[in-house]
Point group: C2
Chain length 260, copies 2
């Protein structure tokens, strides 16, 4: 168990809250084992864009990334957020390195080609440089990944952090027992978005089909769950979805929703 690799995605609402982020990083730091942390961006990029009078457009929950917005997310995600997390973890005695998908071309991606929507500089993931990630974790470094990738022409691309976590987990599961954790501000997968106590402790494939048929899951969770089952099918041992404030309990099975 101590040899497992945890891929932990931490959501934007945690990143936006200094106190919650610090508590999360303390828990992350004290969690035994090999770890890769994938962070989202939260509202900081939106705030910087507003301060610079750069209009932002969202479609289906995705940021349309024009050239100016790409500059902003690169600065905020790869610069400010990533380096502050790394510095905090290092100071907590958890040696860490922050990377984007561009570094050592860790994540190969291409610009999204959508039939009807021009998402701009948004990347879809093609593959992971597993050997480089293995070399880092084998040097006992915790890896902190910002959701920026590049294509093979040197173009940086804004990329969904949930997807990055899932793709890294799938790729690493070929080499090491891998557990994927989506941590955010909710207790887990909820039947009722307004009732924290409606979370479902365990979902297997059959239960998931039934829950979807009964429309018994908050619709916003369905892409996360589809991703989770895709990860399981690709060899990830377990996917856990739950409260970033209870990381040890998520890992220990006392909290969150386990997908298997």
């Amino acid at each position: 168990m101590s040899e497992a690799l945890y891929i932990i995605k931490v959501g934007g609402n945690i990143i936006d809250n200094d106190e919650k982020l610090r508590a999360f990083l303390h828990s992350f730091s004290s969690l035994k084992g090999k770890k890769i942390l994938v962070h989202g961006g939260g509202k900081l990029a939106t705030k910087l864009a507003a301060d610079l009078n750069i209009p932002q457009q969202m479609v289906d929950g995705r940021r349309i990334t024009d050239a100016e917005t790409l500059k902003i997310v690169t600065m905020v995600y790869a610069g400010y957020i990533n380096k502050n997390i790394v510095a905090t973890l290092n100071a907590l005695g958890t040696p860490s390195i922050g990377i984007t998908g561009a570094d050592a071309h860790t994540i190969k991606a291409h610009k999204r080609n959508h039939p009807t929507i021009d998402f701009g500089y948004v990347g879809d993931v093609d593959g992971i440089n597993e050997s480089f990630l293995l070399s880092l974790i084998n040097q006992h470094l915790n890896v902190v990944v910002a959701p920026i990738t590049q294509d093979d022409q040197g173009q940086l691309l804004n990329t969904n952090a949930d997807t990055i976590a899932q793709e890294i987990a799938k790729a690493m599961s070929k080499h090491i027992e891998t557990i994927l954790i989506y941590s955010f501000e909710k207790k887990g997968v909820l039947r009722d978005i307004n009732d924290e106590n409606s979370f479902i402790p365990i979902i297997d494939a059959a239960a998931y089909e039934q829950l979807k048929n009964e429309q018994a899951i908050f619709a916003g969770m369905i892409p996360k769950l589809d991703n989770a089952f895709e990860a399981i099918r690709a060899g990830v041992k377990k996917v856990i979805i739950g409260d970033a404030g209870a990381l040890h309990e998520l890992v220990g099975g006392q909290s969150g929703t386990a997908i298997s």
Copy 2:
């Protein structure tokens, strides 16, 4: 010779000019051998600060770094500049990783404690994590270093890129033959700042003392030269100062000022 390590500092005026930067990165990419690139920040941070109405104060050519300015330089240096350089080099077939001094705590630093001037969040370098840099270059990765460091409390610090290049060169020279190159927009060390043809091809310690005594060197070069001789004394094989547009000629000894 092919086994030497080149530590190449590229100055802000090159970073500010897309065309010059691209030409420099092409030369860097085609240069054989192990390479670490240290970049400065140029005017982008100043421009972003102006756009955000954050006043900037310079003392002795150093940026006074308050909390808001630190955020800006972290975003611009570690985010925007560093990741664009890395993506360009990767696309040129030169596998690269971008780091700050915080990543893997590659550069240990402390907040500058000056008797009369409060520089704010400015770092002075205490040491280099050479084994981590060696592990990267031994994986055939070119390392691109942004001039941000951290202290042991997790505080990020704005740090002079010339100093970082020098400290990395000194530390690496204990393990591998190391050549330090300061590349900028001038042909080399000039006797007359207004005459590009007044550059001095070779300076040794005795010649340097004489040139200083005669006041025959542009005053702004003296800190760079003092750094260069300190590097040589610490074991760096050669220091070359010259035109970023002539990188291969600098390495080959056909251009620039060689310090030995």
